[in-house]
Symmetry: C2
Subunit: 244 residues, 2 copies
C-alpha cells in the first residue's frame, strides 16, 4: 500500500525532506493535500486528519500515514521510513546518530523560518520586517557558520570517509543536507556565495545527491515545486548580505 | 556503568527533560558539567567532548554518553533511554507516537526560549526586549493555547484513557509534560493562571507526576535547580499577561 504524505500544497517546506527520501527510494506515495477532492484527496482530506478524533492526532503537517499508523514530525517520519526505504544505517547505534543529526538539521530549518518570521508565524512578513532584518543579520553572521562548520566537521570526522554524514552509504540525512544547502542558497545567495570554499565536504555531498538518478529525475519533474516566498526558505533581498 | 549526561551547569534547560527520566527510573548517572574538575568532570570535560575529533560529535548540549556512544538532542536521548529505563511503550508503533509527541514538546520549548530571545540567542535579553514583548504577546495569545489544547486533546483521545500521553503507563513524554507545565507556570504566571480550568487532563497529569515518589524526592533535592533567568523558561514580568 502506498504511503500517504500529508503536507501543505504550494510549497516545499518541511514536507520536502520526506519527499526526497520517498523519491530516492522510488517508494509509492500519495501527496494527499496536492490531490483532487474528487479522489478523496486535497486540503480537506488533510484537515480531516488533523481535526479528527482518532487516537494520537498529529499536531501539524507534515505527517505520514502508513496503514492506520499516523507518524508526525519530519525527523520522526524519516526515522520511521529510513529502514523501510533502505536509507538508514543498518547498525542500530548509527540510527540513533542519524536521528541526532536530523534533529540538528531540524533546528536549522526552524531558525531559517524564523529569519522571516521572528515575531509570529501568524503575522505577515511585512509586519515584522525590522525584526526579520535583525534576526537575519545574526543568522548570517553567527548561526549559518555554526551549523555549517559543524556539518563540515561531521563529514570530515566520519570514520567511513567524508562522502556521507553517517556510515558508508547514503541515508536520509544526506538527502536532507542537500535540501538545506539548496534552501540556504535560494534564500541567501550573497551569504552562501562562498559555501564551496568554506564547506567543501558539504558541497561535495550536495553535488553527489543532486546527481543521483532518482533525485535528478525528481528535481526535473513537476512534483518538485520551486522555492517560493510561502515556504521555509524565502528570498527577501533585504534580508541577505555577504558573509564576512 | 553510569550514564553520563552533559548539560550546562546552573540552569534546568533542556537537560532537565533527561534528568526527570533518569531520576524517575533511579538510573545511575553523572551530571558531568556539574562535577568537579579534580574528578575529571566540570565544564571543561563537556567542552572537550563538544570540540573533540571523535566520530559524530554532538552539536550542542544536552548529550548523553553511554559507553562510547554519544547520543545528542533531547528527544533523541529520551527515545534512546526510554526502553532501557522502562519509560517507553512496549509497542514499537507507540514508540514512534511517543517520539512524535516529544518532538512537538521540543517545538514548544524552542518557542518558549524565543519569547525572550526572538532576535539572537547570542545577544542579551535587554537588547531585544521590544521584540521579546511582541513575540511573548503572540506566544500567550496564540501559541500556548494551540499547543496546550493539542496536548489536552491527545490525552482525551488516548484509547487507554487520559492518564497518560501514550498508552496505559508512564512514559518519558508524561514526565516532559510535567516539565513544560512547570516551566510555563514559572515564566508566565498570569497567562497560565487558569490552566487547570482549560486543560484539566494536562494538569491532572502534571499533578500525578509531581506525586510520584522518585520525582517528589528529586524535586525536593539539591539536584533540582530552581528555575531562573538563564534557562529556557524565564520570568520577566513585562512579558507576561493574562490570557484572554
Amino acid at each position: 500500500m502506498a504511503y500517504e504524505l500529508y503536507y501543505w500544497d504550494g510549497l516545499q517546506g518541511r514536507g520536502e525532506f520526506v519527499r526526497l527520501a520517498l523519491e530516492e527510494a522510488q517508494a509509492p506515495y500519495v501527496d494527499v493535500a496536492r490531490g483532487e477532492k474528487k479522489d478523496g484527496l486535497g486540503i480537506g482530506a488533510m484537515m480531516g486528519e488533523l481535526e479528527g478524533d482518532e487516537p494520537y492526532p498529529p499536531y501539524a503537517p507534515p505527517f505520514l500515514k502508513d496503514g492506520d499508523l499516523i507518524v508526525p514530525q519530519t525527523a520522526n517520519i524519516l526515522f520511521y521510513l529510513g529502514p523501510k526505504l533502505k536509507l538508514a544505517p543498518r547498525d542500530e547505534r548509527l540510527r540513533i546518530v542519524a536521528n541526532g543529526l536530523q534533529l540538528t538539521i531540524a533546528d536549522l530549518v526552524t531558525e531559517a523560518h524564523d529569519t522571516h518570521h521572528p515575531i509570529a508565524s501568524g503575522l505577515y512578513y511585512e509586519d515584522q520586517k525590522d525584526a526579520a532584518k535583525a534576526r537575519s543579520a545574526d543568522f548570517i553572521a553567527h548561526r549559518i557558520p555554526k551549523f555549517m562548520s559543524y556539518f563540515e566537521r561531521v563529514l570530515a570526522q566520519n570514520p567511513d570517509g567524508p562522502r556521507h554524514m553517517v556510515g558508508n552509504a547514503l541515508t536520509y540525512v544526506d538527502l536532507s543536507m542537500f535540501q538545506i544547502v539548496e534552501g540556504l542558497r535560494y534564500a541567501f545567495p550573497k551569504a552562501t556565495k562562498h559555501f564551496a570554499d568554506h564547506y567543501p565536504h558539504v558541497i561535495a555531498l550536495r553535488d553527489a545527491v543532486a546527481k543521483r538518478p532518482n533525485i535528478a529525475a525528481y528535481l526535473d519533474s513537476e512534483r518538485r515545486l520551486p522555492f517560493n516566498e510561502t515556504g521555509i526558505f524565502r528570498h527577501y533581498p533585504e534580508l541577505d548580505r555577504a558573509m564576512r
